[in-house]
């Protein structure tokens, strides 16, 4: 095994920054890659070396295994951290690097292959004796006709899911048979576009479900532990928005049972590095079903780090260096409550439409219990090429109640001007009795919550005064211009043009 001291980060945005920080703390040098759209992104500026690997679309840059291999050679990198998304769950990529003697900071290509494909993952989980949600699963492509026939047996409501999927892409919920055909068509399209694979399958949709997942950490010598659960029930169209640890609905016995099941699934594929086993938890019966295993670092790893005090990214690097786990299961302790909010460049009041443009004002929240992981800053251009995650805030306090209050405080401090973000939506949502009571389910936003901007008279008044004062100054300047003595024709013309430009 090579040394793992010079690490190429095959990613961008906040996760690339997160990995660079871990590398710096471990005294590893860092190699960043970037697309033409990302030249001025923080990860490029923070790394020790940076290489442009192509045009803005991910398929021409961050997904190009050949270019990444070339950069590892040119830079002398001995390891690669894929982050999440892009190549993180691509077994071929992991194999390609390992073949060149570059250490993949993640699990084995074999584990990615077995767990990365949702269909083989289910088979592995089933063999390991872990309960599954009723569904129709086959490794081979399933025809539309067979899906439509099989849907009767699976029952409604059901989910159409992409075999190669993840992150909510290529996933559709169908509540009645009439919607099935259209749903299959769209799911296949999305799956093809996101993963280059249009295989889909069906699964029963558990109502009153919570999304609870277990963080796993294992070394290359068969030692494997879990770091408790994260509750990611607050989702919109299967995209996680807010995550917390611990879960408000998991007690120590359930945690132990879920942890044991997750370890069983991980051991079944000889797992090492960081990984996450996702479960659907039926909030009525407290039964849990295996959903999938993510063979990579997750966006929300931060809340686990905050309550356990374990730096998961540094652990991943140490494991890749061939070190043994430094913590035993019985040493894992949970302290207080952590909440993460994903700050997205989307307009919550207009159907979460992506918001694109330049960040023209930026200030981070700070103070007690506030951690911010961000991949953007003042002047960053938010482009349509990548996903909309700008930053994460991770808030800690001693109890859930206090953590929620602190999160709202931090969100109000967080200023991102020039584009729309999900911040105001979170402030509103965290204060609802449903969220505060810890009783929401994964369909809460779709089924029960009316997403509307609430008008505040005070806010409107203050905004109106400020904008009017600014506008007044602008008009006054225009008048000053107009009062100057009239000169030559060209001067008059220039004034007209200037005035026109103002209105």
């Amino acid at each position: 095994m090579s040394e793992v001291s010079r690490i190429l980060i095959a990613n961008r945005g906040e996760i690339a920054v997160r990995i660079i920080r871990a590398c710096n703390e471990l005294n590893c040098s860092t190699v960043a890659v970037y697309s033409e759209a990302d030249r001025m992104q923080p990860h490029v500026r923070m790394a020790d070396e940076a290489y442009c690997i192509g045009a803005a679309p991910a398929s021409e840059s961050y997904l190009r295994i050949d270019k990444l291999l070339e950069v590892t050679k040119r830079s002398g990198a001995d390891a690669i951290h894929p982050g999440y998304g892009f190549l993180a769950e691509n077994a071929d990529a992991a194999r390609a690097f390992e073949d060149e003697g570059i250490v993949w900071i993640g699990p084995s290509a074999e584990a990615i292959h077995l767990m990365g494909d949702k269909l083989t993952a289910r088979a592995s989980a089933m063999e390991a004796g872990i309960p599954l949600v009723p569904g129709m699963r086959k490794n081979e492509a399933i025809s539309d006709d067979d899906l439509i026939k099989g849907a009767e047996e699976v029952g409604y409501p059901l989910l159409i899911k992409a075999a190669a999927g993840g992150g909510g892409k290529g996933m559709r919920i169908v509540t009645k048979p009439e919607e099935l055909e259209e749903g299959i068509r769209i799911a296949r399209l999305e799956s093809q576009a996101s993963f280059g694979d249009d295989r889909v399958y069906l699964e029963r949709f558990v109502t009153n479900a919570r999304h609870v997942e277990i963080q796993i950490l294992g070394d290359r010598y068969g030692n494997i532990i879990h770091l408790g659960e994260r509750d990611c029930s607050l989702q919109r169209r299967h995209q996680k928005l807010i995550e917390e640890s611990p879960s408000p609905v998991v007690d120590p016995e359930l945690r132990a049972a879920m942890g044991e099941a997750a370890l069983k699934a991980a051991r079944a594929v000889g797992y090492y590095s960081a990984g996450t086993v996702e479960f659907v938890l039926d909030n009525n019966t407290k039964e849990f079903f295996f959903l999938e295993m993510n063979t990579r670092l997750q966006v929300e790893h931060t809340v686990t780090e905050r309550v356990t005090g374990i730096d998961i990214v540094k652990e991943m690097i140490r494991i890749a260096q061939g070190k043994r786990l430094s913590i035993r299961q019985e040493e894992v302790e949970f302290n207080g409550w952590a909440i993460e909010c994903r700050i997205l460049a989307e307009n919550p009041w207009q159907g979460f439409m992506p918001s694109i443009g330049e960040i023209s004002g930026f200030s981070l929240p700070s103070g007690p219990g506030v951690r911010t992981d961000t991949g953007v800053g003042l002047g960053s251009e938010v482009t349509p090429y990548y996903d909309s995650l700008l930053a994460k805030i991770i808030i800690w306090d001693t109890s859930r109640e206090e953590a929620i209050i602190r999160t709202c405080r931090a969100l109000e401090e967080f200023q991102i001007a020039g584009i729309d973000t999900t911040i105001p939506f979170y402030i509103q949502l965290l204060k609802t009795p449903e969220f505060m009571g810890g009783g929401i389910h994964t369909r809460f936003l779709e089924d029960e919550y009316m997403i509307t901007q609430v008008n505040s008279h005070e806010r409107a008044k203050v905004a109106a005064v400020a904008a009017t004062l600014l506008s007044h100054q602008k008009t006054k300047n225009a008048f000053v211009l107009g009062r100057r003595p009239v000169g030559e024709k060209w001067q008059q013309y220039a004034r007209t043009v200037q005035l026109a430009a103002r209105f």
Partner: protein
């Protein structure tokens, strides 16, 4: 100078005198408005209540960020109102509906052709942006007049995707 300012859903009459004094819906307001060193960062003290805000001009409007919330503000002075009046007269009539891209993206599917009748809620075009598929649906039953894009086209914000009768 008299202004009519709309902020969010509300509308206010604001009068700023030559000496700088301000009346808000007729009431005198004491204010201290300062620009920060940070771009578009302002501090406003309004009758001794302190607010930190960011104000970004956006076309004819201002986008004001205050306590996490973005508020769109539009300020009309007399000149602007006259201008708007002229625009309204020149404005085009007719019932054509242009479906425009609200963001840059990639056209992944076009489900209709010119001349096709469409029903309310029917999906017309699917646009991919930030890895999400956004479906554009007909808001009412009508006929497709013109399709302006094809599959794999890259579109910019406000590009016309198709025209409905």
């Amino acid at each position: 100078m008299k202004y009519e300012t709309t902020a969010g859903e509300e509308s206010f009459a604001i009068d700023i005198e030559d000496d700088g004094s301000l009346r808000f819906d007729g009431d005198r307001l004491e204010y201290d408005f300062q620009v920060g060193k940070d771009p578009n960062l302002y501090s406003l003290i309004l009758d001794n209540k302190s607010y930190e805000l960011r104000v970004v001009p956006e076309g004819d409007q201002y986008r004001v960020l205050l306590n996490g919330e973005n508020i769109l503000v539009e300020v009309f002075d007399e000149r602007r109102r006259r201008l708007e009046g002229v625009k309204a007269v020149l404005g085009e009539a007719g019932g054509e509906q242009l479906i425009k891209a609200p963001m840059p993206g990639l056209v992944v599917d076009v489900l209709v052709e010119a001349g096709d009748p469409v029903v309310e809620g029917q999906t017309l075009v699917i646009l991919e942006s930030m890895k999400m598929h956004n479906e554009f649906k007909a808001k009412r039953g009508t006929v497709v007049k013109q399709v302006c894009v094809k599959i794999d086209d890259k579109v910019q914000r406000d590009d016309t995707l198709l025209i409905l009768e």
